[in-house]
Amino acid sequence: MAKENTSSFNRIDGITLLLYFMLVAIGLLSVFSVEYRSADPNLFAMSKGFMKQFMFFGVAIFVGVIIFFTDSKFFSSFAYLFYAIGIFLLIITIFLGKDVKGSHSWLGVGGIAFQPGEVSKIFTALALSKFLSSPDTNFKTLKHRLIGTGLALLPCAIIILQDETGLALVYFSFFLVMYREGLPNIVMIIAISIIVLTLASLLIDKAILLYIILGLTLIAAYFIRHALKRDMGVRIILIGIFSICILFSQVAVPFVFTHVMKGYQVDRIYSMIGREVPEDYQSKTTEGGKKKSGNASDYNVTQSKIAIGSGGLLGKGFLNGTSTKNDFVPEQNTDFIFCAVGEQFGFVGSLILIGIYVSLLFRIMFLAERQRSAFSRIYGYCVASIFFFHFAINLSMTIGLAPVIGITLPLLSYGGSSLLSFSILLFILLRLDVDRQAMIR
């Protein structure tokens, strides 16, 4: 048994581990730089976030070692049980949860607080992998598709009840896994289209958007011109898609903003992406002629954009971030940790960080695809999807591309729950990858 364990250590995927350490190191340095004060004599006091994060990292490594000594079949065997425990924790959190920043998604156990919503991502990933890889499951049937969706969205629903919308939305990333395992293309296309169209309607001027849609349609028409000539159906589909897009962006969104939503709601939505409400929608938002401003998330994004934007090409240099060091960006240790990188290391630094993330995502997919067992493969995709969702939404919200929802940047953001859950997610995949030739059910 001992011999087998040593050899299993040798088979751990080094590249993934290296990328992991790089990201954790960048995270530690970012947290350090945010808290750094040149006049502070206690730079390394235990009360500092930097030191705490370092401690969490130690715990993560410790848990990682335990995971490597665990039998790989353990994860699939107990997947459903874990899932049940996760759901149970989520439910009791609704009642026993502590109020932290307006949500009660934190559970305190003997002085240590953690977010069950973070941890249950792992359990959901395991359970979904177990379900989808089960020989009894036929994902082409509607029933099994609904069960899969239910598995992914049940924790999501409970977390919404805890007023932690951002975390809840993460569970939608499991659709990416289900898509990989056979969900029809059309579902994916529609989902992505809705997301893109909604964001585009918010971010881009109505008239400009009209031209963009028109242009894209003409390009598409050019590429399928032969089909268009031959087939009446294709023509109808193209015109149909075009009309839907136009209706959605030019009629539906303005209608919702001006007639359905209240003024302050529109205000809130725009402030979440750190933008001013366009004039077309302002009639509802303005009362007495003066525009309301100074919304909390509005301030966050503005400060975040200032911090990142002022970084320039090469940044201001390590420990020279004037915005991040002086507490101008709220939540800069957690949700807005990317500001530290953007401000101190500029575009080049951001490019490198994004490069590391994309490499990690690709490596995880590579690991997933080389698994012999379906369970491991699907689990791998779960990990990739969760990382991707966090990465994409977190960065987008710091630069004003997506609404500010409390989502952490994997492995960089300060916080034990976040660091631990992402580490465990990754370590379980690495553990499964060690036994990639085995069939795990």
């Binding site: 934007g309 951001s350 994309v358 995709y381 990739a384 991707f388 630069i399």
Partner: protein
């Protein structure tokens, strides 16, 4: 094994890449194409603190301090930091105010600055207030002393030379020299404070700090690498003798006029008095603007530097120069004489001469000693009509060139601002005046220093330096060295020797002897000093003023120029006392006292009576208030006229424009503009 084997894996990969690209494009836009974020980040997080260094001090020739910085204290208060149990009575006692005043002052601070920011409670505490406050400072939480420096003039003299500092004005800010100043900065407004502003002010320190979201300063920005240290202003060491300056100001306190003394060997100014003088300590601190207004409205114009800005006809004091020119042109020799019988009649009109005794102008030395008018108007005509020039215009041009070289007709370039150049007529001046038809009879008065020529006392003193030095001078200046360095680049223009004429040494020597005769047995005997050969020339300047629209002859200006000792000149003096009388009566004694004090360091008891006489005199022209009022009225009318003209011009332009618009409207649209 290949990932690409599964098309859906490929789609997911493309999605990852697509998202990353969108984020990167957005970052590219944010970080590279938009400058505003950088500006905003600096704006919110960087605090620029400007530290003003102490201004340089000014010392006289003996190292005596003439201008320095005194520390003064402002009492500031931060209202919300005041202890609730503050012993108000104690504080009021220390400051010498009562409770209602205390409450009023506190209210004012609260209204102005709010509760949290410190505001000035009392400006510039007196020494006694400061001392008593300091004694019990620990009792008064929230009250703090704020240090600031104030210019202090220990001698209370030389106000116009030293100048004063004041807040920079919007008009000054538009000029290049003050481009680095901002509203509210203090700057030298006149005198040496202005002339050597760049030296005295030092280098402002700029320190950059970071501040946090609560506006607290956290640390220095970029470890202080962008900071510049404040460098204290350098000191100025002057040629000026504080003692003589103060002494002359006292002598002339009841006169209007000026006195300038220069060391001919260096061009260094020993004293420069414009009477009446004022106490420069009035123009500093909290009452500056009030005092300034009072001084500015005084009809005796104490803020007007008569030594450099007032131009007078030099009168007979110009005669040595006329003699030098005549000698050099070759129209006379030292033995040339003129048979003056008490007047000059050659041009049809009598020009009077104070002496009528035979032979008082038998040669140049005699003519100088007795200041014969006939002699000098005659030789002036000889210069103008000299054969070698061809005609009178060329002759006058030649005279003009000589005079220009003597430093007349243009500012000398002294190191305090706003110097005037006086008037030196040339042929075009007379062409304009007499429509081209004039001859040497027209302007012969200039030869005796009357008529169209006018000089500043500084120019007269400088001309004495030229005679004393036999033909060269250094630009008159105050500053000997800057921060102990006599070769500072700012001083190079004053180290240059100006060799101005090719007039021969013998000509200078004979004129100097003539001037010595003035003192030994001529018109200026009053200036005689034992064992010192003084060379001098008296001057009595006729002048008129318009009183109630009528030209009234005023009492003559009393003028006196001198240098001494003749063999090795160490001082050259010019004194002008307005409307006082004969040159030898008033200006002469002042000049000789200056010379005596400078050369012997004391006044002999035999001459003390002169001091008393001068100090007790009241020589202020009784018409002066009227003249001054008329001048002010003319100035204000001129100003009004300018304004009216400007308005008319604008109106005219407006009417023209609207007519033009109407015209083109009709042309284009074929109908009248409503």
């Amino acid at each position: 094994m290949s990932v690409a084997a599964n098309p859906r894996a490929l789609v997911i990969k493309l999605m990852f890449i697509g998202t990353a690209v969108v984020i990167l494009l957005r970052l590219l836009f944010l970080q590279l194409f938009e400058d505003k974020y950088k500006i905003m980040a600096d704006d919110i997080a960087i605090y620029k603190k400007v530290v003003f260094p102490p201004r340089g001090t000014i010392l006289d020739r003996k190292g005596k301090t003439m201008l320095y910085n005194r520390l003064a204290f402002d009492l500031t208060v931060t209202p919300n930091k005041i202890n609730k149990n503050l012993d108000t009575t104690e504080l009021c006692n220390a400051l010498g105010i009562d409770k209602t005043q205390f409450n009023k002052l506190l209210q004012r601070v609260i209204i102005k600055n709010g509760y949290r920011r410190p505001g000035t409670f009392i400006e510039q505490l007196s020494d006694e207030q400061t001392a008593r406050f300091k004694e019990n400072m620990y009792l008064f939480d929230g009250f703090e002393l704020l240090e600031r420096s104030i210019r202090e003039y220990p001698n209370s003299s030389a106000g116009l030379v030293l100048g004063y500092v004041g807040e920079v004005s919007p008009g000054m800010l538009k000029r290049d020299r003050y481009s680095s100043y901002t509203q509210g900065d203090y700057v030298g407004m006149s005198g040496l404070e202005n002339g050597y502003e760049e030296v005295l002010r030092g280098t402002r320190g700029v320190y950059f700090y970071e501040r946090d979201n609560h506006n607290r300063l956290t640390e220095s920005y970029k470890k202080g690498s962008m900071d510049t240290q404040a460098i204290a202003g350098r000191s100025l060491e002057l040629y000026l003798d504080a003692e003589i300056q103060e002494y002359v100001e006292k002598l002339m306190k009841n006169m209007v006029g000026s006195a300038v003394a220069i060391d001919p060997k260096t061009g260094g100014i020993i004293c420069m008095v414009s009477a009446p003088s004022y106490d420069p300590n009035l123009l500093r601190g909290r009452d500056r603007s009030k005092n300034y207004a009072a001084l500015n409205n005084d009809y005796k114009k104490p803020l007007f530097n008569r030594a450099t800005q007032a131009a007078y006809p030099p009168g007979s004091t110009l005669k040595p120069m006329t003699a030098l020119i005549a000698l050099d042109v070759g129209v006379i020799t030292p033995s040339f004489g003129y048979p003056c019988g008490g007047g000059y009649y050659a041009c049809g009109k009598r020009i009077g001469c104070t002496h009528s005794g035979g032979g008082h102008a038998a040669n140049l030395r005699l003519a100088l000693a007795y200041s014969c008018n006939s002699y000098f108007v005659h030789i002036m005509r000889l210069i103008e009509d000299a054969k070698k020039f061809g005609n009178v215009k060329r002759g006058l041009e030649a005279w003009h060139d000589y005079s220009w070289n003597f430093g007349f007709g243009h500012p000398t370039g002294i190191d305090i601002p706003y110097e005037k150049g006086g008037i030196l007529p040339d042929s075009s001046y007379y062409n304009k005046l007499y429509h081209g038809s004039w001859n040497s009879c027209t302007n012969l008065f200039v030869g005796m220093g009357q008529g169209e020529i006018s000089l500043t006392p500084l120019q007269m003193a400088n001309a004495m330096c030229i005679i004393a030095n036999h033909g060269y001078y250094y630009t008159p200046h105050f500053v000997k060295s800057i921060g102990g360095n006599p070769k500072d680049t700012l001083l190079t223009p004053y180290l240059k020797k100006h060799k101005v004429t090719r007039i021969s040494d013998s000509s200078f020597a004979i004129v100097a002897l003539g001037m010595q005769d003035v003192v030994t047995h001529g018109t200026g005997k009053i200036a005689q000093l034992p064992n010192i050969n003084i060379c001098a020339k008296t001057g009595t300047v006729e002048n008129k003023a318009a009183i109630d629209g009528v030209a009234v002859k005023m009492q003559n200006h009393s003028a006196f120029v001198a240098f001494a000792p003749r063999e090795n000149p160490r001082i050259a003096v010019a004194v002008m006392v307005e409307n006082a009388g004969y040159g030898a009566t008033w200006a002469g004694p002042i000049a000789s006292l200056i010379i005596e004090k400078y050369l012997t360091d004391s006044i002999s008891t035999k001459r003390k009576y002169l001091e008393t006489k001068l100090m007790n005199a009241n020589l202020i022209n009784p018409y002066l208030p009227k003249i001054e009022a008329a001048q002010r009225f003319r100035d204000s009318m001129r100003y009004e006229m300018r304004l009216v003209n400007k308005k008319l011009e604008e109106r005219e332009k407006y009417v023209k424009d609207s007519l033009l618009i109407r015209h083109y409207f009709e042309k284009i649209y074929g109908k009248k503009l409503p």
